[in-house]
């Protein structure tokens, strides 16, 4: 893992001290709320319906056990005993008091964490593949480049007052586990024609009220030029992005207007730029890379007798392995996904006690590494197959062994109207009820991969546009209604869901989802996922299931 150097440490400590002063002046009345609000937002502190919300950055989703224990400690001491993992690999606390936030930030700084880049019109926390360094087939470790971008973008003076927020995601695999095509910039590490390593640069993806899939503006950028090219993209955006209308201010609007022209401007800017002074020196990239040296894996047999025996003896363990364990690139190891979607509970929530349990497991069994995923789950990236049974038993005892990764109850949901000041409708209760409807693990396994994503307003924090089944909560004359979108995907085959028709009331929506699943099961080919069946069959079959004859009127 990356460790702070003296500059990182100083920067974060100074920022905490500065915010402590700002909070004191606000509490004394010296600063007005109007003056204070942008200052607190720059430190990740929002005001929600019932309380403040502090969003803590987890750069590219990587955590050590020490950091996880500190997050647990903060949840117990300063909050209501839990935290909430978000769709950008961050964690949010829903109940911190303003007077405590400077102390919380100091506690975070002790473990090299902060809340910078989690709000405001800056380059936000960088996200990446949660399986980085563990999955087979990676071209490179995306964390190296994510860390470089983090350092470059943190408090970058030229890009701290952008027209709107700006999100960058990096991956190095063919499979996209970071939703890069719905980010302002998506970077896919790839090999060029002569075997040289570089990036495919995608720009202008995004969700919200006007969703777009990103356009590739450069098929291949040699890796040494990453920062100068990002600088060129940011300069064009900073110059031309609209500042008069926040709903048209994201870079996706510029790219959608004329992608070819946007590309031409970026390329011109880049051609003119002083690459030597903008690109990171090779020494610095090497220094960062050293922090991501692979752990010292044991030489193990590919198969584990103990593991196979436990699977045969314990059907619940076997079921969990099928859904929550993935192959590792190192022989004898596995990637473990920890579901934060227990049936009938808020997606992404985790108690302090559970955080401590995960920290203990990471320390003992996963080279001290934990990852947060953008699907609001956690991951232990490097677990010996021999240890999987012990890990499962501990997770099970901590109520963290729900065997549902990628299944219908592994729902992404934004906080919605239960917490959020912007929401029009509740999301979490809908997620809880859908999960309860499909609580039977055998039925869920039979339905197979199905990504349900729920947002409580058009800002789309619940990624509903890229759900196989997307659900958008809307307010209709003071009542919650839920629109259904079908056919979205946030993966390598990214697509935007298409709205089916009229919305459903809160009491109708779970039945509507069940009707969609029933029609899928009745029409699927062998082994065909919901998304593939939808793409093959087309929307009419599914609309018919939702609305019956009404769809044709």
């Amino acid at each position: 893992m990356y460790r702070y150097d003296e500059f990182d440490e100083t920067l974060v400590r100074e920022r905490v001290a500065e915010f402590r002063g700002q909070v004191a002046r606000r509490l004394s009345g010296e600063l007005s709320e109007e003056a204070f609000k942008p200052l607190r937002l720059m430190n990740g502190l929002y005001l929600q319906l019932h309380a403040y919300m502090l969003r803590v950055a987890i750069p590219y989703g990587t955590l050590s056990s020490r950091q996880m224990r500190r997050l647990a400690h903060i949840a117990s001491v300063y909050d209501k005993g839990y935290g909430h993992f978000t769709t950008r690999q961050n964690i949010q606390y829903n109940w911190p008091a303003l007077i405590d936030v400077p102390d919380i930030l100091d506690e975070l700084a002790d473990v090299e964490m902060h809340a910078i880049q989690t709000s405001g019109n800056c380059i936000r926390n960088i996200t990446s593949d949660p399986f980085a360094g563990a999955i087979a087939g990676e071209i490179d470790d995306p964390r190296v480049w994510s860390e470089l971008i983090r350092q470059w973008s943190s408090l970058h003076p030229e890009f701290s007052f952008l027209p709107r927020k700006f999100k960058i995601a990096v991956t190095a695999s063919a499979e996209d586990r970071a939703a890069i095509k719905v980010h302002d910039i998506g970077l896919r590490i790839r090999k060029g024609a002569d075997g040289e390593r570089g990036f495919e640069v995608m720009v202008g993806g995004g969700l919200g009220r006007t969703p777009y899939i990103a356009e590739t503006i450069r098929e291949f950028l040699p890796e040494r030029h990453l920062l100068s090219y990002l600088e060129a993209v940011m300069r064009i955006y900073n110059r031309l992005g609209r500042r008069d209308n926040k709903y048209k201010a994201r870079v996706k609007i510029l790219v959608a207007e004329d992608a070819a022209e946007f590309r031409r401007m970026v390329e011109d800017e880049w051609a003119r730029s002083d690459k030597d002074s903008l690109d990171a020196p090779l020494d610095e990239i090497r220094r960062i890379r050293r922090h991501f040296t692979p752990p010292k894996f044991d030489r193990l047999a590919a198969e584990s007798e103990a593991f196979d025996a436990a699977r045969a003896a314990r059907p619940e363990f076997d079921r969990w392995v099928k859904t929550n364990v993935l192959p590792h690139r190192q022989r004898g190891y596995a990637i473990v996904l920890i579901s934060l979607k227990p049936i009938g509970k808020p997606p992404g929530d985790i108690s302090a006690r559970q955080m401590d349990a995960v920290a203990d497991l990471a320390e003992r069994y996963s080279f001290d590494e934990i990852r947060a995923t953008h699907e609001q789950n956690l991951c232990l990236p490097h677990v010996r197959k021999d240890d999987l049974f012990a890990v499962w038993r501990t997770l099970d005892a901590a109520e963290l062994a729900t065997p549902n990764i990628g299944l219908v109850s592994d729902i992404i949901a934004c906080p919605g109207l239960d917490y959020c000041d912007l929401a029009n409708a509740r999301s979490i209760p809908i997620a809880e009820r859908i999960a309860e409807r499909f609580a039977d693990p055998e039925e869920a396994a039979d339905i197979g991969e199905l990504k349900v994503k729920i947002s409580g307003c058009i800002n789309a924090c619940g990624h509903h546009h890229v759900g196989h089944i997307g659900i958008l909560g809307v307010d209709k004359k003071g009542e919650e209604f839920y629109q259904i979108m079908l056919g979205g995907s946030g993966g390598a085959d990214a697509s935007l869901g298409v709205i089916t028709g009229r919305g459903f009331s809160s009491s109708e929506i779970v039945d509507a989802v069940e009707r969609l699943i029933r029609i899928y099961k009745a029409n699927r080919d062998d082994g065909e996922r919901f998304l593939d069946a939808y793409r093959r069959l087309g929307p009419e079959t599914f609309k018919e299931a939702l609305y019956g004859d009404a769809a044709h009127h």
Binding site: S32, L47, L98, I99
Partner: protein, 97 residues
């Protein structure tokens, strides 16, 4: 009728303007105003009080928030409709949502 709601500065807790002009935590103790009086009182609150993070007028009658924002304001009144083991939503009143 109208009520005036706010979030307390130091911890964000939901407040209402009470009968004597001070803040109360429970809607049951909130004062009700007609529209003109509510707007006038809000002005007073916003200029006088620095110990709040936000304040605005809501539609309400003696039973609670009403009108278009009734659901949102009921959730503010009783707490989230989830995690009923915690906070003010653990109180029985939340069953009404």
């Amino acid at each position: 009728m109208k009520a005036i709601t706010a979030n307390r500065l130091y911890d964000g807790v939901v407040l209402y303007v009470g009968p004597n002009g001070g803040f109360v935590e429970r809607f049951e103790q909130a004062a009700l105003f007609d529209e003109a009086a509510a707007n006038a009182e809000l002005e007073v609150v916003l200029t006088r009080d620095t110990a709040i993070a936000s304040a605005y007028v809501i539609e309400a009658d003696a039973s609670g928030p009403i009108g278009r924002e009734a659901l949102r304001e009921s959730i503010r009144r009783y707490g989230p409709t989830i995690r009923k083991d915690l906070g003010k939503q653990s109180e029985a009143a939340n069953e009404r949502l």
